[in-house]
């Protein structure tokens, strides 16, 4: 339901994994195979010479420091900023508005109904059920339009399809109140609260 960038996560995590794996395998080879060590010696000496050359060629006039350091620092800072931005994308997608639009009548103005209306109403309706150990309702934005996510924690032994059907009727009642059909996702889950609570024996 959230707008977590799933594909981006897979790609970036995969890139990091491949790099770490390659470095790790290379270190193992370096420690065990002498031929690899010899190759690394010749290659890295050349590379090191090249890097030193680059730093020497990019000195500030009249000073011993190279401006490549500043570039390196900037690139590192940019990379850190990108990583923070990436983390900030995880689990986004909550919204506050359930309905927002022009009601197309003579009176000017927009109609807005907060997501709290649906959340409070559904939570209240579900709070007294003995077969639920807990319920949370949240409004998310899916493709730019609001949708509700109802998370139910039933006690042990409750039939999920019956529970889902009953919650569906509640949602339908809510739809008539709000005057708009809202897409709903019901997630019937298990957690520590359901695992250690008594089994449902009433129904």
């Amino acid at each position: 339901m959230t707008s977590t960038p799933v594909l981006l996560n897979r790609i970036l995590v995969g890139i990091l994994g491949i790099k770490l794996l390659a470095v790790g395998l290379f270190l193992v080879l370096l420690a065990t195979v002498p031929a690899v060590a010899a190759w690394w010696h010749s290659w890295s000496a050349d590379a090191w010479k090249g890097i030193n050359q680059a730093f020497n060629n990019t000195r500030f006039p009249g000073r011993p420091e190279s401006w490549l350091w500043i570039v390196l620092v900037l690139v590192t800072l940019l990379l850190m900023g990108l990583m923070v931005a990436w983390v900030a994308q995880q689990g986004k997608g909550r919204t506050n508005l359930l309905v927002s639009g022009d009601d197309a009548r003579e009176v000017a103005g927009d109609v807005q109904i907060g997501g709290g209306v649906a959340e409070q109403a559904l939570k209240h309706a579900l709070a007294e059920r003995p077969d639920l150990a807990g319920a949370t309702v949240a409004t998310y934005q899916v493709k730019g339009r609001p949708a509700l996510k109802v998370r139910l924690l039933p006690r042990q032994g409750v039939a999920p399809h019956l529970l889902a059907a009953e919650v569906a009727t509640l949602v339908e009642a809510l739809d008539t109140v709000v005057g708009q059909r809202t897409p709903v996702l019901i997630h019937i889950g298990a957690g520590a609260r359901t695992r250690f609570s008594r089994a449902e024996r009433v129904r």
């Binding site: 850190m80 983390v87 639009g101 059907a165 996702l185």
Partner: protein
């Protein structure tokens, strides 16, 4: 919203978003970058290095097989490779969660009338949710297992401790330990569990297997 959107949401709910692994990876990169910055800043203001001078680090790296014991180097490499493998597998594997979609759709008796026939109904007031009429339902396998265990227990007439149900993607395994001296019909348990599963209409539909333990429980 269309039926395609519903399918997309259901797919996202039954598969891991890898948010935790992504956060771990980002944290790792940030920590490495911060350390590099720290060392170069310390170097720039002319203070002694915290752990290692950048210049010395690079020279050590160039001369690598020398200067470090091969055992330590190999172990370090193995640990790095393991961490890399962890991230890579997390990215490549499908990342299914232990959840099933509960098909609350009406049975496909009514023909599918144009999936996106009335796209863009009135925005705001009375907009239709063509295709996403009934709620999309996702159920944790644990909940399914406890519901099935309850049915199996009722059918077998045993205590809850004598029934254990394992639900995986395509299989449901019901383990029942009968009460000593009380005969137990495997077919009855199977029928009860299958009836309950049939009512749930899970996607994908798992197969049921009932195992009756050869030893009984005394005094249950």
């Amino acid at each position: 919203m269309s039926a395609a959107d519903k399918q997309r949401v259901l797919h996202r709910e039954t598969h891991s978003s890898r948010a935790v692994v992504a956060t771990l990876a980002a944290g790792l990169v940030v920590v490495l970058c911060a350390y590099g910055l720290l060392e170069s800043a310390v170097h720039a203001i002319g203070q002694p290095a915290w752990l290692i001078e950048p210049q010395t680090a690079a020279e050590r790296l160039v001369a690598l097989p020398a200067g470090v014991s091969p055992l330590l180097l190999g172990a370090l490499g193995a640990v790095l490779a393991m961490i890399g493998l962890f991230f890579l597998l997390n990215a490549v594997l499908p990342g299914r969660r232990a959840r099933h979609v509960l098909n609350s759709e009406r049975p496909p008796a009514d023909p599918r009338s144009g999936p996106d026939a009335d796209e863009g109904g009135m925005p705001g007031s009375g907009g239709t949710t063509d295709g996403w009429d009934s709620p999309a339902v996702v159920v944790d396998d644990e909940v399914i297992a406890s519901a099935l265990a309850r049915q199996a227990r009722l059918a077998a007439n045993v205590t809850p401790e004598q029934v254990m149900v394992v639900v995986s993607r395509r299989q449901v395994i019901v383990n029942v330990r009968p009460t000593s001296g009380v005969p137990l019909q495997e077919a009855a348990v199977l029928a009860a569990v299958e009836a309950e599963l049939g009512e749930m209409a899970l996607v994908p539909t798992p197969e049921v297997r009932v195992n009756l333990a050869s030893t009984g429980v005394i005094g249950a």
